[in-house]
Symmetry: C2
Subunit: 207 residues, 2 copies
Amino acid sequence: MSDERKIDVREAERHRAKMEKRKAVQDAEVAGKTVEKGLLIVNTGPGKGKSTAAFGLALRMLGYGRRVGVVQFIKGAWHSGEQDALSRFGDLVAWHTMGEGFTWETQDLERDIAAAQAAWAKAQELMADPTISLVVLDELNIALRYDYIDLERVVAALKGRREGLHVVVTGRNARPAMVEAADLVTEMGATKHHFAVGVKAQKGIEF
Amino acid sequence: MSDERKIDVREAERHRAKMEKRKAVQDAEVAGKTVEKGLLIVNTGPGKGKSTAAFGLALRMLGYGRRVGVVQFIKGAWHSGEQDALSRFGDLVAWHTMGEGFTWETQDLERDIAAAQAAWAKAQELMADPTISLVVLDELNIALRYDYIDLERVVAALKGRREGLHVVVTGRNARPAMVEAADLVTEMGATKHHFAVGVKAQKGIEF
């Protein structure tokens, strides 16, 4: 290839020595990590990728033949690619779309609250199911932000999840108590977004 | 349910009126977005979810029966759940693990460079394949950070991608030229990470 980088013997040796040291550091770090536990994972922030990463995690878990449960708290009956794709895994996926759509679509607070509470009941059911390894609570943070369900009660149930169960919670504006309870919190920051320059939501990308 | 929130008539009406206004704003925003285009998407930052969100996007695309190509630039032959899971989609997924493992594992600069260049050749092949809707270039940012492949050449090829093709590039430390060329850049920030408290990499979560 014409863009091949030329490496001389000294550069190669410097690299090898540096990487040998780095490997020692890395190995020590890995050896220091011994805890195995079911994680409470929170994907929040204004950027794209919160739900997408949660479904990517579901995919990874399914690759090991483990069962995954999904509860969608806000999204309503509209069609999504990930739901269709996960249907390939048959009984390995328990999918529950419990939302009624965005709050500005329903315009009905009582209905939104009832939907969120039904979703939370379903979430608790999935979390109690011993055949399930990972539960995705998609947009739970939104339901908590609007006080559709009781924050303290939800956080207590998440903290008290059975041993080994991984739970992923998505949605902007994670509440401080949720962040505090979590083992892993990722803030998706929108460094640059195509919506800002007039690109619309596209099949396979946004839904 | 005992945690049911009581809503009076006035609160319900205030909510409805507010959401009606919000819907008008939202509808105008959606109407203002008319462009459809193949996106260059970059998932970067120190947090978890960069590759995971890319595979979540692959899943979404597969849900519409569209073909996806994957090139892994750094990860070597080790086993991953997402690879197994995506194998369910048969010919819809073209998966190429081209890396040799982390730089501190190979300790061989020349070998790393050769692997990255072969990966880039494969990436160009997938990008040219008209049957593919989305190409995931996993950890390409790492190969660029270490100058294993030529940045200018790569960015030019990505910018010149065929119409309608979506490309996702992952890896920490995206180069400024990559960010500049992208339509969508998400910075995954590690607000809280379980590795820091001694939890090890676990099946279905990290691999």
